[in-house]
Amino acid sequence: MVRYTLKRLLSLIPVLFVVSLAIFLLIHLIPGDPASAILGEEATPEQIAALREKLGFNDPLPVQYLRWVGGLFRGNWGTSLFMDGTMLQIIGSHMIPTLQQTLVAVGFATLVGVPLGMLAAIRHGSPADRVISAFSTAGISLPSFLMGLCLVLLISVKLRWLPSSGYKSIADFGWATHIRYMILPGIALGFIEMGLIIRMTRSSMLEILSADYIRMAKAKGVSPWRMFFLHAFRNALIGILTVVGLSFISCLGGATVTETIFNIPGLGKLTLNAVMRRDYEVVQAVVLLVSLLNVLCTLLLDLLYALVDPRVRLN
């Protein structure tokens, strides 16, 4: 296990190198001069020259890259052109709403997706299976902004059950209000993931239910429920955990859309505002951070996987 962990940690280095290089090059790919792109059309040549100097655009690219990476290690992730505080502070304060929303989304997707997927597998081929499978296809086909708008239209505008937008922090407004404001964005964000989790649960349960040891258990006369939960579900759990972990990652990245609809001051909203205002260092920092989280989550999942299933380590 130790060797496997070390091997996996080493394999992160090239990935992180490529990620950082890609994100670094992104800004330097701007056609023309990034400094004049940041300042807009009315900037004077002196202003552009000053900004170029300040951002270090006059140095050769490899030097700029190394300086940037060096800064990352020292906690200097760049500065925003519009917001005060260090980049890590800015990101930190925007991270919380995104994480809360992601937790609600993944919670919803798991609590609805896993039971439905199991039911579909247990009643394989029945009308229930077909309805659930159609539901999961519909889930995969409803992008989060569509689901969000539908929910606002139905639940907030028509039925007036829940607020249509806004963010209320736990510290200022308490748990109840916070959750009321988080339900709709969470469901909108988690709906696609729910569809995926249903699919994954169903197919991994079906695969395991056709295995020899399940047939053996059946032949020995194990009761159906014991067989489903004790024998099959436990083995399907690995696959399900993976897809839940992956859905956590994609919610973290995909929250941009729901944060815009529901006006939540999270990472996605931060990125989008930065893009609109050409605050490129913020874009760079957020994309890098989310990619980093992505890589770490994937590593964690793989390690968990190897811990649970020794066969993985041997490959």
């Binding site: 992180l16 505008v157 989008l272 893009v275 990619s291």
Partner: protein, 290 residues
């Protein structure tokens, strides 16, 4: 000699018949391709189908309700016909979906095949793909749009960059399986050139896996284009796209529900159609991955 080519022709014919039968028997594939064909038809013939110019503004008909004379699905805040805008919006979705999935399929296959056949390249190419796919796709697309600037072409470019690494991975792993087959070894021993083996003998055999992935990329491209336009970083404003109709609808959701519901249905139908087609194709072409 003639006999052999006759047999070959017969075999090919039979294989085709078998494929057609398998396709027709797969309900998902048939339904999915019907929906996609309808969408493509609408995209191609939008100018003939649309009752009005999607950009024509009639201020007196601002927020006309669905069913008002000349506005079957209502009008937006500038009095533009929603139906015509949705029909023209299909153009954007289909152009983006088709081109980005084809471009990523082509480059993904080239990269995947090179990685599979030339060992020294393999590590470098795959690490680059790993790195690029570690960046969440919507964020990468937004960042690329920020850098490239808003235009239809740049949406296609950004999405292709997002999909190429995934496609390369699929192509490579499919090609690795094919490469181990005995007939490839036989070709090598006969002295066939690497290029010939790759393009004439490996490439056609990885097509099924690649095509299935391309159909899922198509569905994802429709979603991502609509999301980008919805966020205001996709297709620029006067040009109608489902995403920016929805974005305008969102601002007036309490009084003009038709600006959200109808383009929403169009988007969901298009994505569902492509997803169902993808599922069907996977069952037909690539059964063991399911």
């Amino acid at each position: 000699m003639q006999d052999l080519s006759e047999i070959r022709r017969r075999l090919r014919h039979e294989q085709q018949q078998l494929n057609i039968r398998r396709y027709l028997r797969n309900r998902q594939a048939v339904i999915g391709s019907v929906i996609v064909l309808i969408m493509l038809f609408i995209a191609v013939f939008a100018p003939l189908l649309a009752p009005a110019d999607p950009l024509a503004q009639t201020v007196t008909n601002r927020f006309a309700k669905p069913g008002t004379a000349g506005y079957l699905l209502g009008a937006d805040k500038l009095g533009r016909d929603i139906l015509s805008r949705i029909l023209y919006g299909a153009r954007v979705s289909m152009i983006v979906g088709v081109s980005s999935s084809l471009i990523s399929m082509l480059f993904g296959m080239i990269i995947g095949l090179c990685a599979c056949y030339y060992k020294p390249l393999d590590n470098i190419l795959m690490r680059i793909c790993d790195g690029l796919s570690a960046i969440p796709s919507i964020l990468l697309a937004i960042a690329l749009m920020a850098v490239l600037g808003q235009s239809l072409f740049n949406v296609i470019l950004a999405l292709s960059i997002v999909y190429i690494p995934r496609m390369a991975r699929i192509a490579r792993s499919a090609a690795l399986v094919v490469k181990e087959q005995t007939y490839i070894e036989a070709l090598q021993s006969q002295g066939a050139s690497a290029a010939r083996i790759i393009w004439r003998h490996i490439a056609p055999n990885i097509l099924p896996a690649v095509v299935v992935q391309a159909s899922f990329n198509f569905a994802d491209a429709i979603i991502t284009e609509a999301s980008l336009s919805f966020l205001g970083v996709g297709v620029p404003a006067p040009q109608p796209s489902w995403g920016n109709i929805l974005a305008e609808g969102r601002e007036v959701i309490t009084k003009a529900w038709w600006m959200v519901v109808y383009p929403g249905i169009a988007t969901a139908l298009a994505v569902m159609g492509t997803n169902i087609l993808g599922d069907g194709l996977r069952d037909i072409l690539d059964p063991h991955t399911n």
